[in-house]
Amino acid sequence: MNAADVIANEKLSDLKSVTAVGIDIGSRQAKAVLVNDRAVHTAITASGIDSQETADRLLARLLRLSGVDRSDLAFIVGTGYGRIALDYDDIRTEVVTEISCHAMGAHFLNAGTRTIIDIGGQDSKAIRVDPDNGRVREFVMNDKCAAGTGRFLEKIAELLDYRLDELGDRALEAEAAADISSQCVVFAESEVISLKVRGVQREAIAAGIHYASARRVRNLVRRVGLDPEIVFSGGVSNNKGMKRALEDVIGAPISATKLDTTYAGALGAAVIAQRFYEGSAL
């Protein structure tokens, strides 16, 4: 992809000529982005048990897609829960948290980003971003409860006999969302089963689950302060049902970007990698 096709116009001139890679090893999916001032390339795969092996696979794919020689890679920044395991003998590597990387990535996709809702495989986060530079101003994480996370939605999809990638679409087909009162994964699962037994439409249950999850995320967002423009990132950001539920519950639109925001963390990591190569701070 041409950089100009995906990067916010205001940020294009901030990309460096040097080629850098960001690798975001999440709990369910691993994403990687190769960037320089001309092009952006992306790769995605399921996170394996061995983070290094997963990263190697992503890196090989990026090199193949971009035609860049490995020796021309200046710097790699690893992020996500598997970041600690990344190590390359021939390429300089640093680790940065996914919180900083999502902020920077969202900033480069939409320069006006002020709030990020990041829902990943095992936790959700609300991040307030400085629109001047893409740095984190404040953040809050929810890792105490799995409700609304990718892992939770996966489980619910299984209970409703949907594929995970169709759960959000089916939720949008519901005439009305079922009322899911429980905010706890374990009880929510029981509630879903009860609703099924009572003959409630699967689509309505799916919609109810998305709204229940969105209400939890709303509480996180309130904590850091809701400040449009909002970017929705993380593995769940592709779920249209969740996007709709979040917009309804929060009462503000989620900004569109030209690149799938699943890659926001990896893109931010790649941008930070360029800066590290040039000796700049985060």
Partner: protein, 431 residues
């Protein structure tokens, strides 16, 4: 009980020897125990340039086992102690204090299992209470079965002491008398002081069968004040040399002010050695220009990876608001027992409302160049969780960034999410 504990190791290694093992060589202990010791071993190795820090870790790692062994051999009486308030009195009564908090900190992964299965402690209980209770039980057959506690600590701990009492431990409770208001009238304050004094007299008799020698107690209070003065000097020197003593080592240095790790002279030699090292102009350890200096407020925990993560991600804890009160010593213008009582009821770290701690925390921010505050507490301690929120909100309103961390007292590395929070906080504050 078939659980593996330090006592049941079959390779003849004690804690100190385990921590000196090459970290690449796996010690044959439970995975969790090995993990805490690995952090200590790494910290020790990181300080290879500092003879004083090496001596500090010698003290840390030999503390409990030496105190127990000396007691068993009849060389030096010892008794367990909860909280660091009683050390001067213990030493004045020729008794080595063994901090029961330390047994949890250096405990094994089996401790929580014991707490849950044997003592039936609910899983959602405070992890510190579970770790301490379980580990004490695991070493009960070879340790001193005497424990003095302060009832003001917290109710879950008080329950734990009763559970230990039921196991045959001789538990002495120092009844608490908090100073509820700072504007008390003198007569009321005197009543509270008199009560604490009488409790201390009883504690002395429990410790060694006779009243405390007040001249001896005065000497111990002076020693404590002298040690705190050195500690303060070290902490201030650290501001300009923040990585010379890394965060975990500094935490242990502070813990030592409460017990001297059973060896007062050796502990003071460590402080003297550190002062000598820090005051040499050529002893500045390089640190990044944008290093993020932080305040640590709350429990000290045993998740040593938290301290390592702070240092490794470009931070350093330079100011401390923990149970180790290093900001002030005992009054020297009062009789020793009265000075002791005054010290306890005017404390600013362990007792009283969270609001009472705010000023103490605030005082450390500017002198220690802190850019943010980490509020740390344990999973299962709901009261401390509310304290953290109150304190965190107060400082955020002042424009000082804070983060509330909830950690575990269980053995093993911290969760990835906890480390992510810490790293992200340091990244957020780095410029």
């Amino acid at each position: 009980m078939a659980s593996e504990t330090i006592a049941l190791r079959d390779d003849g290694l004690n804690l100190a020897e385990l921590a000196r093992l090459d970290t690449a060589k796996k010690a044959r202990t439970g995975e969790g125990l090995e993990s805490q010791l690995a952090y200590l071993a790494e910290t020790r190795a990181d300080h290879a340039y500092s003879p004083a820090v090496q001596k500090l870790f010698d003290l840390v790692l030999s503390y409990i086992e030496d105190a127990e062994a000396n007691h068993r051999a009849g060389r030096q009486p010892a008794a367990w102690m909860c909280g660091g308030l009683w050390s001067p009195l213990y030493y004045a009564c020729d008794t080595v204090p063994i901090s029961i908090n330390e047994v949890g900190r250096l405990g094994s992964s089996d401790a929580m299992t014991v707490a849950e299965d044997y003592f039936q402690l609910p899983k959602e209980s405070c992890s510190m209470v579970g770790a301490v209770l379980g580990e004490f039980f695991l070493r009960a057959d070879r340790t001193v079965k005497r424990l003095a506690t302060y009832n003001m600590m917290c109710e879950p701990l008080n329950i734990a002491w009763e559970l230990l009492r039921a196991e045959g431990v001789d538990v002495f409770r120092v009844e608490g008398a908090n100073r509820p208001n700072t504007e008390d009238e003198a007569g009321r304050l005197r009543i509270i002081q008199d009560f604490i004094e009488s409790e201390l007299r009883d504690l002395a008799i429990w410790l060694h069968g006779r009243p405390v020698d007040e001249t001896r107690l005065s000497v111990e209070l002076l020693r404590y004040n002298r040690i705190l003065a050195k500690m303060r000097r070290i902490l201030h020197l650290r501001v300009e040399n923040p990585l010379y003593i890394r965060s975990l080592a500094t935490m242990y240095l502070l813990i030592g002010t409460g017990t001297y790790f059973g060896k007062p002279d050796a502990y003071e030699e460590v402080l003297d050695g550190l002062l000598e090292e820090l005051e040499r102009p050529d002893h500045i350890r390089p640190y990044p220009e944008n290093l993020v200096r932080l305040v640590w407020s709350g429990g000290r925990g045993q998740e040593f990876g938290v301290y390592k993560t702070i240092d490794d991600s470009g931070g350093a804890v330079t100011a401390w608001h923990t149970p180790d009160e290093w900001t002030r010593g005992y009054r020297e213008d009062l009789p020793p027992l009265q000075a002791y009582a005054d010290y306890i009821i005017t404390g600013r770290t362990m007792i009283g409302t969270p609001v009472r701690h705010l000023k103490r925390i605030e005082e450390t921010i500017a002198p220690f160049q802190a850019r943010g505050i980490l509020f740390y507490g344990y999973v299962g301690c709901s009261f401390a969780g509310i304290h953290r929120e109150i304190q965190s909100t107060h400082f955020q309103r002042l424009g000082i960034p804070t983060i509330a961390l909830e950690g575990s007292f269980q053995v093993g590395p911290p969760s990835g999410q906890l480390l992510t929070r810490i790293r992200a906080f340091v990244e957020m504050l780095s410029r």
